[in-house]
């Protein structure tokens, strides 16, 4: 069998077309938080919801509850639990573990691209409510800034504390790490 020039060119062209196939884009963000034990615990019938402001709109990141953790976890520990299935534990508040060592941290991933986020805030929401907009009851808020490479970070402040009489209470910290993105390059 002789391979004609036409067939050779067709094979090479097909090869080039396969090689030039586009690559899928993966967005998404990793969310890291620390919350001190002073954060409100959830009451029955309510949960908290974390939002980010992106291009002027509030985008929901996570619904969660805050519950007292078992004593086996350490002293005065509160657990942050996902409000949605599989109701996983997302982390714990800052505390001491049973060995007397510092612990604390919350982590989850979201498919939302937050590279344009300007601030984050969490609100109290009623269970079963269908309105996706955030309520007016804000438990903490933080202004995002690019303090380190590849991240946006915020100090989470209790907005209900008056700055005239007392210092704003820091309730925790938050850092966003962006997935996907461009290739690193040579």
């Amino acid at each position: 069998m002789t391979l004609s020039a036409h067939k050779i060119r067709s094979a090479i062209l097909s090869l080039c077309l396969v090689m030039l196939a586009g690559c899928a884009d993966y967005g998404g963000t990793e969310v890291y938080m620390t919350l001190n034990a002073g954060i409100l615990s959830s009451v029955d019938g309510e949960h908290f919801e974390l939002f980010a402001s992106v291009n002027g709109s509030a985008v929901s990141l996570k619904r969660f509850t805050v519950r007292n953790a078992p004593s086996s976890e350490g002293l005065a520990v509160k657990a942050i639990l996902d409000f949605d299935p599989p109701y996983a534990e997302l982390g714990v508040t800052d505390s001491l573990d049973t060995n007397g060592l510092l612990q604390g941290g919350v982590f989850f991933r979201t498919a939302v691209d937050l590279t344009s986020a300007t601030d984050v805030f969490a609100t109290v929401e009623l269970d079963g409510e269908s309105d996706p907009a955030p309520s007016q009851e804000v438990i903490f808020r933080g202004q995002l800034s690019a303090s380190t490479r590849g991240t946006l970070s915020a100090i989470l402040i209790d907005p209900t504390v008056s700055s005239v009489r007392r210092t704003n209470t820091e309730l925790g910290t938050l850092t966003l790490v962006f997935q996907g993105g461009d290739r690193v390059g040579f």
Partner: protein, 743 residues
């Protein structure tokens, strides 16, 4: 357009050398089996392909590095060899250098490593460190398949196969002795001896090879930019702050590493017997979390693999039928003391240590392979394997970090008991079985048909079924074509599947222990799978034209889909992740008369993970360029290799974050104190000068490694700032001098 640039370049390269090939008058009459390049292998087959076939026509992307190239390029370890093969990145360090792995198309532990046909990847961890435990002097050649290879080889061949073929008495005859030493920040106070004897006895009926080697080093001096003294355990344990010291620290090795290897081979007629054993003591100067421990603790680790095999190989019916039977035993030993190490500090007065030890892991097995030349241009390969894996109890001893030599018997921290015989300085300890004794039996059957449709077109199709007592049956397929587009120009289009069985630590590990083993094991894990479509075009150009012996050029593209990848994201090992891999690989080797040569390899890889997105902790680009010249009738050799490893990113905790706090002389960095560190590209140059055949028996060599003294580091393999919170520093410049005698 920029994102498509690597594939466009590959496409243009294909076009260019097709044009060049078309402009050449064909000098190479018919593709000759590459096996002829190794005349001593007349009665053998290409190990990694189990058949007699040329590199150009092999239904796989294959690279072969022989012992001459190993010497000419100054390779020290198998990892050095892999570094120069497109698609592979040798010698990536993880957990403070505790694991030294290699990447295949951007991913670790995805390559099957064979030694004389025996799988030497541990079933306990699916890992094998390609360090000084394998003396390269024993290696006759390294055969590498880029891409999955499970139809022929079964488990672990997810993205590649590396086959180490050791010498025999025929291939390394006579007495060889080597002694050398070196020094520099990259390798302090190193020395090495190697001796082998090979030959034919009983009028050539018996082939004997025996070798012993000893390499010793104090290790590298490594600068840790932000030393961590305490940090949290992996998920699903609760997170917590990392405590980082102000300033940087440089390791100060306190103990000498030793690697001893004894390898032998005996052949008589169709039967051959081989063994390899060794002993190792390695001391890590950086703990798994990034602490500099060399001034405080002396860690002792051992990670050895011992093999023994017996093989029957013969041909029948006028060589139309070949039979290969091999029985083997492999024993892996691991002992880490300490396994985890936190240096002593105000936070942990006694430091924090644990020890991991076991009687090891065993594998016993039998493989059989038949190749049969059938009518109508068919060559059938078929065979099977059966083997059993057994692992003894893996014991984890954790020492109470809050107790010391003066601690009373009843004063240990809860869950620890008073056991001063284990360590008088740390008398409170607990012992747990980190991994109970476990075992499994595995068997597989395969068949592969290679059909020469005509002299210029070959088709192949293969199938394997793998069965195990601990995972569901796995079926793998392969297929493809090899077409001679033009004399000396070949096109390969290949589809290959691979799989990897889950390792024992993910199926049987015990959760809830004090050190680093916090992820819940899952006995229901299934195999991880890969499916790869690959295309390659290769050519021999300018063969015999003037001073050029030949110019070999190869370019290829592959798309690989991995599914069922074992993930820990949920706090339990699950077959949960997916990966898409695009890779472009270029290799060219220009050989001149007088044994001069130049080579260039380039690989581009892009990996998308369903959990992590695009992987940024790998080098998207790796370039290797090198050469070798022989002057003065071969008495003077000059060699050089430049590896340019592209940039990568690493997620790290940093004391430069706004959210840190001073804490008792350290800086407490919470889980939000993160940065995406850019690890710049690293140019790594080695060059050497050798005087050869001095008085006909003596070679003298001088090599400089990392001659540009590049300060470089590795990103951790999981893009995680929690466990390995800083980049892993790598060795800097070192010099090596060696004398070699061969009678």
């Amino acid at each position: 357009m920029r994102r498509f640039l690597p594939t466009v370049l590959a496409g243009l390269s294909i076009g260019l050398f097709c044009y060049a090939a078309g402009a050449q008058s064909p000098k190479r009459p018919e593709p000759t089996p590459f096996i002829i390049e190794f005349p001593e292998d007349d009665d053998e087959r290409v190990g990694v392909l189990k058949s007699l076939v040329s590199l150009q026509e092999a239904p796989a992307i294959i690279t072969v590095i022989d012992s001459e190239q190993i010497a000419n390029m100054g390779h020290r370890t198998v990892a050095d060899v892999l570094q120069t093969i497109p698609g592979f990145e040798g010698d990536r360090w993880e957990l403070g250098g505790w694991f030294k792995t290699h990447l295949t198309r951007g991913l670790p532990n995805t390559t099957l490593i064979l030694r004389d046909g025996v799988n030497v990847v541990s079933p306990l961890t699916n890992r094998l460190t390609l360090d000084r435990k394998f003396a390269l002097d024993n290696v006759r050649r390294v055969e590498v398949i880029s891409g999955p290879g499970s139809v022929l080889w079964g488990s672990n061949a997810l993205l590649g196969v590396v086959h180490l073929v050791t010498h025999s008495g025929r291939t390394a005859p006579g007495l060889r002795m080597r002694v050398g030493g070196g020094h520099g920040p990259g390798e302090l106070g190193a020395f090495r001896t190697f001796t082998s004897w090979g030959g034919l006895l009983a009028d050539g009926a018996v082939d004997v090879y025996l070798s012993a080697s000893w390499f010793s080093t104090m290790g590298p001096a490594l600068r840790v930019d932000q030393p961590v003294i305490l940090g949290p355990l992996p998920r699903p344990a609760n997170d917590g702050p990392s405590f980082i010291l102000p300033g940087s620290a440089v390791t100060d090795p306190a103990a000498r590493d030793h690697y001893v290897d004894v390898t032998g081979r005996l052949g008589f007629g169709p039967v051959s017997i081989g063994f390899s054993t060794g002993w190792e003591r390695e001391h890590r100067e950086i703990s798994a979390i990034g602490s500099v421990v060399s001034g405080d603790l002396v860690s002792v680790s051992m990670d050895t693999v011992h093999t023994a095999w017996i093989r029957y190989r013969d041909r029948y019916d006028g060589s139309r039928i070949g039979l290969n039977l091999q029985a083997f035993m492999v024993h892996w030993m691991r002992d880490d003391n300490p396994f985890t190490a936190y240096p002593s500090s105000d936070l942990l007065p006694q430091g924090g240590t644990s020890r991991l030890e076991s009687d090891g892991t065993w594998r016993f097995g039998l493989t059989s392979d038949v190749d049969w030349d059938l009518p109508a241009g068919h060559r059938l390969l078929f065979g099977g394997e059966v083997y059993g894996d057994m692992s003894s109890n893996l014991l984890l001893t954790t020492f109470d970090p809050l107790s010391g030599s003066s601690t009373a018997e009843n004063a240990c921290t809860p869950t620890f008991t008073y056991q001063p015989t284990l360590d008088a300085q740390r008398p409170c300890a607990r012992r747990d079985i980190a991994l109970p004794a476990t075992s499994r039996v595995t068997g597989g059957l395969y068949a592969l048909d290679e059909w020469s449709v005509d002299p210029r077109l070959k088709l192949n199709f293969g199938l394997r079924g793998q069965f195990s007592s601990s995972y569901d049956p796995a079926v793998s397929l392969s297929g493809g074509l090899v077409a001679e587009l033009h004399p000396s120009v070949f096109l390969k289009a290949v589809y290959q599947e691979g799989f990897r069985a889950p390792d024992f630590q993910s199926t049987s590990g015990a959760q809830g222990l004090a050190s680093l083993i916090t992820v819940e094991s899952n006995p229901e894990l299934d195999v991880e799978r890969s499916r790869s479509a690959m295309a390659e075009i290769n050519a021999y150009l300018f063969v015999g034209e003037g001073a050029v012996r030949e110019w070999y050029v190869r370019a290829g593209y592959s798309y690989t889909r991995m599914d069922g990848v074992i993930s820990q994201a949920s706090g339990r090992f699950e077959n949960a992740a997916l990966r898409d891999i695009h890779s472009v690989e270029l290799l060219t080797r220009l050989r001149f008369t007088g044994s001069h040569e130049l080579f260039l390899s380039y690989a581009y890889v892009d990996v998308y993970d369903s959990e992590f997105g695009r992987l940024r902790n790998i080098a998207n680009h790796v370039l290797n360029a090198g050469g070798h010249v022989a002057l003065f009738e071969g008495h003077l050799h000059l060699g050089a290799v430049l590896t340019w490893r592209g940039a990568m990113e690493d997620l790290n905790r940093t004391r430069g974050s706004d959210v840190v706090e001073n804490f008792g002389g350290t800086i407490a960095v919470p889980s939000t104190g993160l940065e995406v560190t850019r690890i710049p590209s690293a140019p790594l140059l080695r060059f050497g000068v050798e005087g050869r055949r001095i008085l006909d028996v003596l070679d003298l060599a001088l090599w400089v490694y990392n001659a540009l003294d590049t300060e470089w580091s590795d990103a951790d393999l999981y893009f995680d700032g929690r466990i390995q919170p800083r980049p892993q520093p790598k060795p800097r410049i070192s010099v090596w001098a060696e004398a070699r005698i061969h009678w």
